[in-house]
Amino acid sequence: MSPRKRRLLELVLDNLVWFMLLFVLAVFSLTVPNYFQLGIFANIIEASSVLGVMSIGLALVVIAGHMDLSVESVAALSAMLVGILFCSAGIGIGLELHPAWLAVPVSLALAVGVGALVGSLNGLLVVRLGMNAFIITLASYIWVRGIVLAISGGRSAQDLAPAIRWLGIQRLLGLPVTAWIAILCFVVFSLILAKTPFGRHLVMIGGNETATFRAGIRVNRNLVIVFVLAGAIAGLSGWLLAIRTSGATANLGIGLLFNAFAAVVIGGVSLKGGVGALPGVYAGVLLLAAINTAINLMGLPANFTQVIHGLLVLAAVLLDTLKQSIRQRLA
């Protein structure tokens, strides 16, 4: 194979999910009425913001060779706390700060802080006590959702403070500020993962924890940090979710975890750990949102969404296997 062909093939393999996204967008634009328009593409990016941010935290933990099933419930808890404090209707107590814009950093700090707290508990139990991350975070998934239900009493909070809602309404270049926040998160964490020692250590830990430890890297500290980060990022996604829906309901965000896992896997992150990059995850999130939007416009029963998501994850795993074998041949 000529070096040029080889480079081209590697480019395709490295960005397979982006090519899949372009292919899917082209097919839907040609076949689904009203799909091909800027407004719909903006909707896809906007709809990806919450899931996208949540997927970042999950991807970091998975790349480090672990799992965090609590991210969905953490997002719901953050959204509910923000809703209760800063909504003026339903169970919201309508907290007012002066000046009004202070509500933005305070609510953000609250959401991220609560997430970080749950994440630190997960991290400490997994790392210090050597407990299985799947079980620990599954327990968190359940008890944190229980807290959401307990503090809300099953009721909802609406009418979020205008200063916070502004972020969901105000548009820059056709996209709401919340979508730009999600994009910024992807850029920042992609750089952290690819360009900083911490990011590289996470990939190494996910690839071989023992070897990384023997190389003198503080594995436990990095793992606790990644769980705290996953929790904090899930809190951030909850904050975005509250902004997007102008409040919070007790069932807010149900099902996001599975979509986040689907996005992470489709985005090329190996569930075995040690492999993956965040730009691919973002492409995975956009791909899922593009499909959901198509289904919304086609008026297909929602069950089809789940079937398509399932098949897509299967296709992504198969493509990943194919990719690995092609790479081995190239090597």
Binding site: A47, N251, G255
Partner: protein
């Protein structure tokens, strides 16, 4: 250690002794099997049933199935073993719970169907608003709204359903669409919000408004879906009244949206009356006495008891809430439980 154990034992004994008089005064324990607590109507139903049943002398305990059919089946099995005075069931799945209802009745425990009708097997009493009828009322309101806007019943409606696996939403859709068939100039776009998730509903509204900017009316099958719909409308630069909105179930959030001018109509489920009817007939149910068909006054509403193949059934009509009557305390969404007490039917 021994002292600690004895202290604990003493506390338990003291607690039991305190509870004993309460049990002595009660006519018995009724178990309420609620499908989920992630929904304001269901949460409201727990407190309403508890309040009304207490007024007629029953203690109520609630078990939440988290929308899982198998969990509710297990709960039924467990409760049957406890031999309560009656079971109130709001079934997660109408058909799947049929054997459990039959098992309870075979064990001599009366079963009351609340809110969600099971017609495939007899029950001792059923109290419903009629989900298909809610769809009918919504259709009448849609006709009025479209006529007021376009001069005749014509235009485009976006119908945001709940979870596609929930018969509650499918029944409302059935009732709504069967009435709307009479208006061929009305186009209905129906999209389900999986798991009744508000964020999904928000995305549906955003997508559909972009693809179909000529939508006249958005009908969501629950008020909390309308909240997310409003958030999407706001994000699209719309103001209250730009697009007509309607939802069903009468939750507090829906009433707030009416006050703010976003929502034109909320079709209420008469939660308080439905719960009061259960309490009014509980003595008859628990003592297995005959429930006579006819009209009954339930908190000022006309409830009609009929003898159906599945047993005595009381149907209490839903109501359309608009800006004109939104503050009526009779609507459960105003969260003002009725001041008076209910009396058992003699």
């Amino acid at each position: 250690m021994k002292r600690l154990f004895l202290t604990l034992l003493g506390l338990v004994a003291l607690g039991l002794a305190t509870l004993a008089p309460a049990f002595a005064q009660s006519k018995g324990t009724v178990y309420y099997l609620v499908p989920t607590l992630l929904d304001e109507f269901q949460t409201g139903s727990v407190s309403a049933l508890e309040m009304f049943l207490k007024q007629v002398g029953y203690e109520m305990k609630t078990l939440n199935a988290d929308n899982k059919t198998d969990a509710q089946q297990s709960q039924m099995n467990d409760v049957i073993a406890l031999k309560p005075a009656a079971i109130i069931l709001a079934a997660v799945d109408f058909n799947a719970l049929k054997p459990s209802v039959e098992a309870a009745r075979a064990a001599g425990i009366p079963v009351v169907e609340f809110d969600r009708q099971i017609t495939s097997t007899p029950s001792d009493f059923t109290s419903v608003a009629g989900t298909v009828e809610i769809g009918h009322i919504a259709a009448e309101q849609a006709e009025k709204l479209l006529t007021a806007k376009n001069g005749s019943p014509k235009g485009k409606i976006l119908q945001v359903l709940g979870d596609p696996a929930d018969p509650y939403t499918l029944d409302i859709q059935k009732g709504f669409e069967e009435k709307m068939k009479a208006f061929p100039d009305v186009t209905i776009i129906s999209v389900p919000a999986t798991a009744w998730a508000a964020d999904v509903a928000g995305t549906i509204v955003a997508d559909q408004l972009t693809a179909n900017p000529d939508i006249d009316l958005i009908f969501s099958h629950a008020a909390h879906l309308s909240v997310a719909g409003v958030a999407s409308l706001e994000a699209a630069g719309k103001k209250p009244g730009d697009i007509m909105m309607m939802s069903s179930n009468g939750a507090p959030v829906g009433l707030d949206l009416i006050r703010k001018g976003w929502l034109n109509v909320e079709v209420e489920q008469p939660l308080y009356a439905q719960a009061a009817a259960v309490a009014m007939f509980m003595d008859k149910v628990a003592n297995k006495q005959e429930i006579k068909p006819g009209e009954y006054d339930v908190l000022g509403l006309k409830g009609v008891v009929t003898k159906e193949a599945w047993g005595p059934n009381i149907k209490i009509p839903g109501a359309a809430i608009t800006k004109d009557n939104v503050d009526d305390p009779a609507f459960w969404g105003n969260l003002k439980p009725p001041a008076g007490t209910v009396k058992p039917i003699e």
